[in-house]
Symmetry: C2
Subunit: 330 residues, 2 copies
Amino acid sequence: MFAADSQRALDLIRQADRVLIITHISPDGDAIGSLLAMGHLVRQLGRPHVTLALEDGVPEKFDFLPGSADVLKATEGPFDLILIVDCSDDRRGGQVLHDNWRHGTPVINIDHHVTNTKFGTINLVRLDAAATTQIIYWLTEAWELQVDQQVAQYLLTGLVTDTLCFRAANVTPKVMADAAALMKAGADLSTITQQTVNRRSYDAIRYWGAMLDTVQLEDRVIWAVAPVSMRQHVGYRSNGDASLVTFLATAWEADMAVTFAETDAGLVEISLRAKPGLDVSAVALELGGGGHPAAAGATINGPLPEAVRRVITQVKRARHDQFEQHEEDQ
Amino acid sequence: MFAADSQRALDLIRQADRVLIITHISPDGDAIGSLLAMGHLVRQLGRPHVTLALEDGVPEKFDFLPGSADVLKATEGPFDLILIVDCSDDRRGGQVLHDNWRHGTPVINIDHHVTNTKFGTINLVRLDAAATTQIIYWLTEAWELQVDQQVAQYLLTGLVTDTLCFRAANVTPKVMADAAALMKAGADLSTITQQTVNRRSYDAIRYWGAMLDTVQLEDRVIWAVAPVSMRQHVGYRSNGDASLVTFLATAWEADMAVTFAETDAGLVEISLRAKPGLDVSAVALELGGGGHPAAAGATINGPLPEAVRRVITQVKRARHDQFEQHEEDQ
């Protein structure tokens, strides 16, 4: 199935004159790595007009990846083919997808999220991949394309960021072997980790300190809360939790971790993590978000204290129900 | 040289009747993984009397490794052979080495620290190894020993903890390929990361929050300070900085990171980290400690505020001098 679909995808790419490649809004390392890698590979396949676009642009932290400056924030078609990477549903394709997806435009959807809605004409969705870049690496083998130093760097960036540098539960021997192969092809793991998972601002570090002063643990759920005023106090300029949730999830006394970060607009960004065997993606879906069993998220309306009460109740219930289920399965 | 020495080491082991295997005091994952792996392998080589001992015992967090309960805290020889792993100098062998190292007892020293003093009869010191367990993995190849699931788990534990789960600058394609091979041999990366680098207590998380309230950044050196009272306040029961220094080192505005943790006895435990290309091991050596260029430590006398002033001055000077040197080299 994957073999046949990947061959069909290759045929579509080879026939296309104008190709648009996009990824999901609020992009992470796997989104950007996949976007840049597919751009490079589609050009390598001889396509004359290849456009990379993303409503949010490329976050500054990925400036170390060559070609990131060439990604547009908006574009006007028409395009013969849309290639969308690491994007679980068409809504997360943002304005660029909305503007360019005409009736009849074929869409190739390359992704590894369990919540993928298979919205593409061809869906190269592999749940056994630790990152979308790993699927793209497998496509280079299927399509017999050369992986040069630049593509190797893009692909390893996705593997590193989506596995939190090989810490996630989805890291198989194949992930390690693929990472070794990408390093042999010239990818620089040390630079990637320094620029992504090992890189924070001093303000983010101070923001962690302030958020950790709010940490709570109840019924094996751990959480922390960041009102807008906290970000302003420490001078942290981005939205979000600065990835604190991943740290909270290391508590051995907790099965699930949650952070609540108030945005300037008064919305509440929620990040969720679960220990292996448990699932927070259903809670995220209920809240209108998405993600993986082990890592998911959503953005909901405030006010913040009410959002915290409501979501913590839901998470505690999800944890409780999953343990009941687990007991029954025994 | 390594090939000849490893053959000599194998001959010594094969001739020994009573073998003592030890590692360094205040053991980390590489120390414990190396200790347990060598115990298993020396038994596999048919030695009838194999004793594993370590003054400090095995920290509770390594209980998930089979055989950790069989490590003694003290032992009485005589032994025909001492095998010491992951230990940069004989002082760090602690009381067990002191009690059992008689005149003429051959010592096999297996280690990867740049500060290793080559105190053994045979020194299997490889600076190109990311962990001592990686050297032991190479020895299993040289000695044509089978790596079963248990040994694979021990060896991968050392690789994971000494590379901070493949984040350190010393991670080569060979490290990734060896990790993939150990996983294929049955090592469970997910369990290892969950039990080591991804495992903290709720108290340690609250301790981080308190320490981060003291964080400072000057001249590209970042540091945090933990008096005994802070540990008592959050209920954190161990000594040390709960690995906060590794987190501080992720600040892109800093080149070196330091933590100061006061012990119950009024001593000050200092942990040091440097960005790739810089070296904190010389500072640690000056302070009577040791380590690697990127990660080192020492324990000095208090009082705490004076220790902070003195060491921060030294670290700033080291950073400054290394940048001067770097400029001259250009």
